[in-house]
């Protein structure tokens, strides 16, 4: 929709004043002077501004990694009129410009305008983002008329994933490990043998066909008693459970680089590391009901990645115990290696200690507990003073870390701003 710009009243005034004076003084020259802006407006109205626009957004890649350059493009074509054509596409906040600009201006002269606008951006944070809606606005070459935004293009989704960190330098974790994979670790979801092991209560995720209805009816105390399922011995692999804390305190850092983002990268790397070594890996997002039950293979890696992709640090503090309680049916008796990725602060220390105690009680004798304590103050530090302030704040957390260590967990501090995950992993998985 074309409308007059703010310049029109100025031109009207520039015409009205000399015309009035010319009439008052009987001055033909002033009348002629007053006609100039009037003619300007009339002549401008004879020519149209840019119109007949065709705006098409190109197909960008459907997914990319954090830090990877993505090239996006669009084609703009204007058939008629003269003036400025401003074409832009909204880029989500977590993208940094790499090459070119997402906002371009073109001069539409007397000929047809055809332009390919390519630009590159870099995704700085994982997530699902929407691209593809470009807007165009036009300015008449006289400056007297402007056009409202015209929106075109189809929305498309771009998935930015955390680039998997690789853990190197751990050659034989089993022989060197300080926090060893439990010797008697068993798997609850591996290849199932036909050897009956026990009856246990039904937990969420169990298959319905495993429910032993006869035993359920025989042993039920009341109508609220959960069904019983048959548990069979499994020719299983060793199990690793990765817990990632999604509490709000994990937001420490910047909106792009913070404890939670580092935790996501670490959870992804650790999961992949153990899956590649033929372990069964389970994953739980502490503070939510979301979990991926322990399993192995590439599909499991994809499921964990998908959950990590959607994870946000929005939960309340101190929910580890609740997560353990929710999953205890799946953890019980498997003696897994449990890795908790969190920020240990006084507010959640007690809950972590309780959760670790519960894990010991249900996990079996060989259960190993490891806590990766993400120290994210360094991510937000801009200078040495900020770093010192972060160190001081960490002093406050020391007693909480001691409490967790006292509960039998091996705690490893990780400052993502100065330490590569691989180096911390070597400390975690090998003897020092």
């Amino acid at each position: 929709m074309s409308r007059w710009s703010a310049r029109l009243p100025t031109e009207a005034l520039a015409a009205a004043v000399p015309l009035t004076l010319g009439l008052a003084f009987g001055n033909a020259l002033l009348l002629a002077v007053g006609l100039i802006p009037l003619f300007y407006v009339v002549l401008a109205s004879m020519f149209s501004g840019p119109r007949g626009v065709s705006l098409e957004t190109g197909d960008g890649p459907p997914r990319s990694w954090v830090g990877e350059k993505i090239t996006l493009g669009r084609h703009v074509s204007v058939e008629e009129g003269m003036g400025l054509v401003v074409v832009g596409e909204k880029v989500p906040d977590h993208f940094a410009p790499a090459e070119g600009k997402n906002l371009r201006v073109h001069w539409k002269g007397r000929g047809k305008l055809d332009s390919e606008d390519d630009y590159s951006v870099i995704g700085r944070r994982r997530g699902a983002y929407e691209f593809g809606t470009a807007t165009a606005e036009f300015v008449h070459f006289s400056g007297l008329r402007t056009t409202d935004n015209e929106t075109a293009g189809s929305m498309r989704e771009l998935l930015v994933r955390q680039k998997p960190l690789t853990i190197k330098g751990v050659r034989d974790a089993r022989s060197l490990t300080r926090t060893p994979m439990p010797v008697n670790a068993a798997c609850r979801l591996g290849t199932r043998s036909t050897d009956f092991r026990e009856l246990r209560r039904y937990v969420r995720g169990d298959r319905f066909r495993d429910i032993n209805w006869k035993a359920t009816v025989r042993l039920a105390v009341d109508e609220d008693t959960p069904p019983l399922v048959n548990e069979y011995e499994r020719e299983g692999r060793r199990t690793v459970w990765v817990f990632l804390d999604s509490a709000r305190s994990m937001r420490t850092g910047t909106s792009v680089e913070n404890a939670f983002e580092s935790g996501v990268a670490a959870a992804s790397a650790v999961s992949r590391y153990f899956l590649e070594r033929e372990c069964e890996v389970g994953f739980a997002l502490v503070g939510t009901n979301r979990a991926v039950l322990a399993s192995e293979g590439k599909r499991q890696a994809l499921m964990i990645e998908r959950m990590l992709q959607q994870a946000e640090p929005e939960a309340d503090e101190g929910r580890f115990m609740q997560s353990v309680s929710r999953l205890e049916g799946h953890i019980a008796g498997t003696s897994p290696l449990v890795i908790l990725i969190t920020r240990i602060v006084p507010e959640n220390a007690e809950n972590i200690v309780q959760g670790l105690g519960r894990l010991k009680a249900i996990g079996g004798t060989g259960l190993a507990l490891t806590v990766l304590n993400v120290d994210a103050f360094g991510l937000a530090a801009e200078d040495e003073e900020d770093r010192l302030a972060g160190d001081l704040l960490n002093v406050k957390n020391r007693s909480a870390v001691r409490d967790v260590r006292g509960a039998g967990a091996a705690v490893f501090d990780w400052d993502p701003s100065t330490q590569a995950l691989g180096r911390v992993a070597v400390r975690m998985l090998t003897r020092r």
């Binding site: 001055n27 002629a32 100039i36 003619f39 000929g111």
Partner: protein, 234 residues
């Protein structure tokens, strides 16, 4: 100067400032040639010598022009410089009026105090030029604020400079067309009325300009037709 530099934002700013400075100088010339020069000549011939008021006026004029010249380089100053030009031209413009309001209000006045030493076509040309300069200045000012807005939105400065420079050329062409059309009307009106003023020279100038204006309009209309044609190349 390279072609690339001329296509940048430098060009509109330079040409607008140059135009304003020229008009300012011409306005100062008109003022000195009408009011001051005539008054000075009268004083000298009467043998009374130059009174302090006249000395002050003589000193004030170059200072005023100097300030206006300096101000013309900036966007807001250009407006002030054009205002000064209007003030300096006002007596000469009013001298071309059919109705002398000053005589109406003071019948005892001489009536010749607005007499002009310069030929009327020069006054007409400078006044029309000043009106065109005002139009150019408004165009330039609008483009400058548009450019600032675009740069603040994140558009590349080089890209917007090229686009706004091209737009300035189009705006100037439009301003030229409007000026020519106005001159044509003025000249035509004078011819029809058969008035003594403006002078014969002015009418001749007007006629010449009408021919140019018609040519410009024809070319513009032809360009419009070509631009509207979908098959036209870029």
């Amino acid at each position: 100067m390279t072609r690339a530099k001329m296509a940048g934002w430098w060009a509109p700013r330079f040409w607008t400032t140059l135009f304003i400075v020229i008009i300012l100088g011409l306005s100062a010339l008109v003022l000195s040639q009408t009011m001051l020069f005539k008054e000075l000549a009268a004083l000298m011939s009467s043998g009374r010598g130059i009174d302090p008021d006249m000395i002050a006026a003589l000193l004030l004029l170059p200072i005023l022009v100097l300030f206006a010249l300096i101000a013309a380089a900036s966007r807001k100053g250009a407006k002030a410089a054009l205002g000064v030009s209007w003030v300096m031209l006002a007596p000469a413009i009013l001298s071309l009026s059919d109705l002398d309001w000053l005589t109406v209000f003071s019948p005892s006045g001489s009536g010749g105090h607005l007499a002009v030493a310069l030929p009327s076509y020069a006054i007409i040309a400078i006044t029309i030029g000043l009106a065109a300069a005002c139009l150019c200045q408004r165009s330039y000012s609008q483009l400058a604020s548009l450019r600032d807005k675009m740069i603040s939105r994140g558009i590349d400065a080089g890209e917007i400079d090229v686009a706004t420079s091209k737009m300035f050329v189009s705006m100037s062409a439009l301003a030229l067309g409007a000026t020519m059309a106005s001159i044509a009307v003025f000249a035509g009106g004078s011819l029809l009325a058969g008035l003594e003023r403006p002078s014969a020279e002015a009418l001749a100038l007007g006629l010449a300009v009408v021919v140019v204006a018609v040519a410009v309009l024809l070319v513009s209309l032809r360009g419009l037709e070509k631009a509207r044609s979908p098959s036209s190349g870029r």
